[in-house]
Symmetry: C2
Subunit: 158 residues, 2 copies
Amino acid sequence: MCDIAFQDCYPQDVAHCFGCGSLNQHGHRIKTYWDGERTITRFTPRPEHTAVPGFVYGGLLASLIDCHSTGSGAAALARARGIDMVRDGAPRCVTGSLEVRYTAPTPLGPELEIRGIIEEVKGRKVVVSSQLLADGVVCVTGRAVVIEMPQGMGMDRG
Amino acid sequence: MCDIAFQDCYPQDVAHCFGCGSLNQHGHRIKTYWDGERTITRFTPRPEHTAVPGFVYGGLLASLIDCHSTGSGAAALARARGIDMVRDGAPRCVTGSLEVRYTAPTPLGPELEIRGIIEEVKGRKVVVSSQLLADGVVCVTGRAVVIEMPQGMGMDRG
């Protein structure tokens, strides 16, 4: 497993995402890695990330799967194109669609693990399916279609 | 339009959600209201809620649609049962599944408006479809299946 996260390979002008940008001081700054053919992200929610007492709120779980998927998509595109992300920077994906199923309440406390499978890489599009586990139990499943960002989107505003 | 938000009718033991709980000091505390047959939520993202500079990150948008949907579901259940939420408290829903489509980048800056349609009420289940608009443009659409929370879930932990 390479010890440099996908998100740490994003170019600096597109590394501000609240969920995964290394430059966002207020955000979650999730880190995603290859684990064999799978991708993996670990994150421990904070006490305030509650739904009802004792459980993680669903919006955070959707957010984690979203950024885990854009990161996984970036790495999948890089691999398909033979790009060395650490040396040359990662492609940057945005989400086209996201489906999340909450199959069990997610306990607040333990570190969460999100496992991703690259289902399809086609041109600029990647389909990523994910499982989010707490204490080894699958609590959420997700499927995201992510798309390589149009060039210059990071420069349009702000 | 009643000026008391759905979320302000949640019983206090289940009013801690990061997205919509009135008791969560760190959260978004979104407020949803009836607007005729529709439901409506307004929220202005903070500067750090960025995706790439100038745009709102998708995880927040999914979160907003999620809590807007659970709130809309609560109100729809109350209406179907003839419950006066302000007097007797609102049912509390959790999300079973959430689908979000990002149809246009959401600009960071303007207040966002989320409009909900109650598609179906069946027993403890409600289907809510939503549109999220910025500056009058639909940027995200959503569909959520929400379910009335099992009794005592708010008391299981914490």
